[in-house]
Amino acid sequence: MKSAVVVFPASNCDRDAAVALERMTGNKPHMVWHADSAVPDVDLIVLPGGFAYGDYLRCGAMASQSRVMRDVKAKAEKGVAVLGICNGFQVLTETHMLPGALIRNAGLKFVCRPVGLEVTETQSAFTRKYDHGQRVVFPVAHGEGNYFADEETLDRLEGEGRVVFRYAPGDNPNGSIRNIAGILNEKRNVLGLMPHPERVVDPLLGGTDGRALFESLIEALP
């Protein structure tokens, strides 16, 4: 599987994502600068966590206007898989590649801790190696991860099996509506999620629950 990681000014999980990708796939991903006009031909594009443009104005807002995002969008339309983690998820909603918005955490504070998640959809290239309903633990680290969308959109997301990760009951760290932690686009090739799977592929760091996500991609995107 060939992959690329987009680097925005003040992305800060770009290296983490690259290390996890290399560890899981055996290949170094391409690092793509936000001002580049195109992403190389790859099977997976990762928009990493961080504070692109300082998270000023709104998280992901300025990054969504980056030059490279036009190509990311075009490639996604052609079916290339896109994974937005944390800040990357915020960029995807700001680009309207995913519906809804991520607003300030209900507790108003940045929150960094491991959270329990449920894998609520396994019919996807990102989660096929998980069991339906499986409980996993990924860390979150964000100040604005409170997922919001109108009722109609939410019903659609749920009806179409596009809510892939939910916070386990009682473990919602940010007030996300319907406990939503990660969603797919209509074509199911774009996933955005707030928790960090790339921080749980190495047992030294407190867990390996994120591995199956990368294993799913490797299997789905040969």
């Binding site: 104005l57 918005a101 209900a106 919001f148 969308a149």
Partner: protein
Amino acid sequence: MKARVFVTLKNGVLDPQGKAIGHALQGLGFDGVGEVRQGKVIDLELAERDAAKARACLTEMCEKLLANTIIEKYEIELKG
């Protein structure tokens, strides 16, 4: 020309910050405070001198960047 843009949350969108401010005000003993909502105000200096053109340009800025129209609405105020 100077312009001021207000970006506020649409009705129905949860505003945790506004809610917290309301709470805190009550906690400080300010009674009779109803709903509180927080938004952004962006002050800009523009080279443009024509009001209509400036307004059109600001609208485009709002749509493209300054507001996320899924959750936010905006108002534009020109200040001569």
